[in-house]
């Protein structure tokens, strides 16, 4: 692959366009979440930004807690655009989530995992498919992987193809009204995918 010297850029126009795309997609996702949980989901404003590896490190580090499962990531790829979705929960959310999804058992490690998987399937799937539909890209999703418990941050970030410095990230912060549930959905695109996405966005803007 050709090493490009210039890193990913993001103009104000492009940022607005991503924000609009995400708005539509996450609206669909929030609708599904609301129907699953039978609760009112507060629609947030997505944050589109370029993040560097240190930002990501601190995000993943915050999940690296032995006691609880708190993050799931899932890869997606379509039309040469690849990225990962990362769903993070804070621990206090689980008790309320369990009640909403009618998990009667005790809140163990296992139930937390079930909850995390249920919600991530919904949110990640809906968001990615929603964005894909608008860009006319069919995204394939890989299997979710649990982070936090089994991962060493340094290893994850050092290994393999982590040659990137700054890349495109879309952050969506979901909260539920009246209950204490909040989770963060992070869509990260690889550096070359971000460039490709920018091209597609340019077409839409013209």
């Amino acid at each position: 692959m050709q090493q490009s010297i210039d890193t990913v850029t993001l103009t104000e126009e492009q940022r607005d366009c991503y924000q609009e795309l995400t708005n539509v997609a996450m609206g669909q996702a929030a609708d599904r979440l609301a129907r699953l949980l039978d609760a009112y989901v507060v629609l947030p404003i997505p944050k589109v930004s370029l993040i560097d590896i240190e930002d990501l490190r601190s995000i993943i580090e915050s999940t690296n807690d032995d006691e609880s499962v708190s993050a799931v990531c899932q890869g997606f790829i379509g039309a040469g655009i690849a990225g990962e979705a990362l769903l993070l929960f804070n621990d206090t959310s689980f008790t309320d989530l369990a009640r909403l999804t009618r998990y009667e058992e005790e809140l163990t490690h296992q139930t937390q995992l079930e909850l995390l998987m249920d919600v991530s399937s919904l949110l990640i799937g809906a968001c990615i498919q929603g964005i894909g539909e608008q860009l006319e890209i069919h995204f394939n999703q890989g299997h979710p992987v649990v982070l936090g418990q089994h991962c060493n941050v340094d290893q994850v970030l050092k290994s393999g193809n982590q040659q990137w410095r700054r890349t495109l990230a879309i952050e969506i912060h979901y909260t539920l009204e009246t209950v204490n549930v909040n989770c963060e959905l992070l869509l990260l695109f690889s550096e070359d995918s971000a460039e490709r996405l920018n091209h597609i966005i340019e077409f839409l803007l013209d």
């Binding site: 599904r32 699953l36 163990t108 296992q110 249920d118 919904l122 498919q129 979710p144 089994h150």
Partner: protein, 295 residues
């Protein structure tokens, strides 16, 4: 999205691919009746597509926890979303034998599954497709690495001379039970504690008893609380006499640890994997029956 145009002739080789691809494919309708059962599923389950077709999934495979699976499948019907399950949640959806029965180290096939919606012409989702992936090698390696890490950590702490085996949680217990079911010789012991007087609070007696049991078992064994007064033990390669010895040792340990009045009595039921049980429920039931006879 463009749909590839499929010629009628192409259907033949598409069907061939469906039959030969090394992942499990099942199509289910709204009533969870099987509509498609591919070659992978046929080979591993021993059920032909003819006999599987039209059958209710949960009736054909009573092992599958229907509440759990419905929770994963209903959003696919209702919300047209995909759902996924990974082996960390449940090791498998279908209990199949390991693909490598000779050199593979797991007794069963670990599975990841995806459930995807299938839209009909009127854009409704009347069918779902369940895709089953064999992830045994990955799971076994993962569990090995985890065990090694734990061993390395416990060897770092110098205080512990003889290794004390910590109690397993319910999840680990079920996994061990599954793994031992097909093993040549594992004894399942169900221990019951009975207090003559009003039982003390759980936090009072459980740690004491836990440390007594932990000292008596070896690294290849598993122990777990099944309820407040029941302990499950999985002992590998112990005959009945050895198991009985362990129990009588535990009884004398208890006497040393508790005062006369508070000392719980210990009863045990033993059931061995070599007797052959169809599933873990049956195995546990047999041990529970033995326990009842001993009372």
């Amino acid at each position: 999205m463009t749909k590839p145009a499929i010629e009628i002739n192409d259907i033949h080789w598409l069907m061939d691919i469906l039959q030969n691809i090394d992942v499990g494919l099942i199509v289910l309708n709204r009533d969870y009746q099987i509509q498609l059962w591919n070659g992978f599923m046929e080979s591993h389950s021993g059920l032909s597509p003819q006999s599987a077709k039209g059958q209710n999934l949960f009736e054909l495979f009573p092992d599958i926890p229907s509440d759990w699976f419905r929770k994963k499948a209903e959003p696919v019907f209702q919300l047209k979303t995909r759902t996924f399950t990974i082996w960390e949640q449940r090791p498998y959806l279908f209990r199949f034998k390991n693909y490598r029965p000779i050199t593979g180290r797991a007794t069963f096939m670990y599975q990841n599954t995806s459930v995807i919606p299938l839209e009909s012409v009127d854009k409704c989702v009347d069918h779902i497709c369940v895709i089953i992936y064999d992830v045994t090698d990955m799971a076994v390696e993962h569990l090995d690495a985890k065990r090694l890490r734990q061993e390395a950590q416990s060897s770092k702490s110098p205080k512990q001379q003889s290794p004390v085996i910590p109690f397993a949680d319910a999840n680990q217990w079920n996994l061990s039970l599954e793994q031992s079911l097909d093993s040549a010789d594992t004894s399942l012991l169900m221990l019951e504690l009975r207090f003559a007087t009003r039982p003390p609070s759980q936090s009072n007696y459980q740690p004491k008893i836990e440390s007594l049991v932990s000292k008596r078992i070896s690294a290849s064994d598993t122990a777990s609380w099944l309820s407040s007064y029941h302990i499950g033990l999985l002992l590998s390669h112990k005959d009945d006499q050895q198991s009985m010895d362990l129990i009588s040792n535990l009884r004398s340990d208890l006497k040393g640890q508790f005062s006369n009045l508070d000392c719980p009595s210990l009863t045990a039921g033993i059931s061995r994997s070599k007797d052959g049980f169809p599933n873990t429920q049956a195995w546990q039931k047999s041990a529970a029956n033995q326990l009842r006879l001993q009372r």
